[in-house]
């Protein structure tokens, strides 16, 4: 006999992700799921972002890594809440692992929670963590063909950060091909061409992410300037 089911296979992950999303919305915390290959510069991006935005925003970080707490150690100096999830071989984070660590954060005193996913362009893009949105970080040294090769991530991401632009002269990376391919995967997605180590293009990224928090919180720019949330902490 045949039994009809018609159910999303990742239902368990999806249901837990919705629970996480609702909790974060009620606490006005913007969770950003950062996805890239290993070595594209996720942790360096977070280091600089914490350096510049920590004084004005309350930042938390979830570090997803197969093993070790090396990334978390690099962020320790910013004195922000950090939780490490070691997947012990797993190639991505899922909503259950996020849900388990959320109670380690004081969500009432957080504006933004960055999740540094396990370095991988395929698997993490399949699993909703309950984030407000995903961003993709890709570096010029990986080649200009990444959007065409990994369309799911580049289609799903709300912003793309192209890192290591200072190294372009030493590679065969074509900015024209990259931009044109990206346009055909996700037309209109914001693209930040940056060099985390040299600081190029980073100002635009900081302004954009601050704008996303305002939008998420549903408060006006003046409210943020008056620091109503920040003064209470």
């Amino acid at each position: 006999m045949e039994i009809k089911i018609m159910k999303n296979i990742l239902d368990r992950n999806q249901n837990k992700a919705e629970e996480v999303r609702n909790l974060l919305i009620s606490k006005k915390v913007l969770m950003v799921n950062i996805i890239s290959s290993p070595g594209a510069g996720k942790t360096t991006l977070l280091e600089h972002t914490c350096e510049v935005l920590n004084p004005v925003l309350r930042i938390g970080v979830i570090e997803g890594d197969i093993t070790t707490d090396r990334d978390a150690l690099r962020l320790k100096k910013y004195n922000i809440p950090i939780v490490v999830i070691n997947t012990e071989g797993g190639c991505h984070l899922d909503s259950h692992s996020i849900s388990k660590v959320l109670n380690s954060f004081d969500l009432d005193n957080l504006d933004i929670l960055f999740v540094e996913n396990v370095g991988n362009l395929i698997c993490p893009s399949q699993f909703d963590l309950g984030e407000a949105f995903k961003i993709a970080v890709v570096s010029t040294t990986e080649g200009d063909d990444k959007p065409a090769k990994y369309p799911m991530l580049f289609r799903e991401a709300k912003a793309i950060l192209l890192n290591k632009t200072d190294l372009i002269p030493y590679t065969n990376f074509s900015m024209t091909s990259f931009r044109s391919d990206l346009k055909k995967i996700n037309a209109g997605v914001p693209l930040f061409e940056i060099s985390c180590t040299k600081g190029d293009g980073m100002k635009e990224w900081y302004e954009w992410i601050k704008g996303q928090i305002l939008f998420h919180d549903g408060i006006s720019g003046n409210d943020l300037l008056n620091s109503s949330k920040r003064e209470s902490s």
Binding site: I9, C91, K149, I185
Partner: protein
């Protein structure tokens, strides 16, 4: 490697549904994957075999239907199947597109007795 987690969650659903229907053996599992989900069928099958080993679904045959990527142009309204990894409207060339099909990841039915 996301195939492993997807196979694990699939096997949980199969065993749950089979128990509900009081099946003693699951002979076939019918699933649908969208092209964009990038599942490699032989890796998925390997992972699935591991997760159902020793259960009533151990010997179940897997039938995978792959749904091609289908998009609709937001400019001219044309719906079309995407034949390459870069997406552009086949009628007007516009790149502002809505994804209609191709992200599916669901179990349709199980068969057994």
């Amino acid at each position: 490697m996301h195939e492993i987690k997807i196979a694990e969650d699939l096997s949980l659903i199969i065993l749950e549904e089979a128990a509900r229907a009081e099946l003693s053996v699951v002979t076939k599992v019918n699933i649908t994957f969208g092209q964009m989900v990038a599942i490699v069928p032989h890796i998925f099958e390997f992972a699935f075999r591991e997760t159902v080993r020793g259960s009533i679904a151990e010997d179940a045959e897997i039938e995978i239907e792959v749904v091609p990527l289908k998009m609709k142009c937001k400019d001219c309204g044309t719906a079309f199947l995407v034949s390459e990894s870069l997406f552009a409207c086949t009628a007007c060339g516009a790149t502002d597109l809505e994804l209609l099909e191709g992200k599916e990841l669901f179990i349709k039915s199980i068969e057994g007795e």
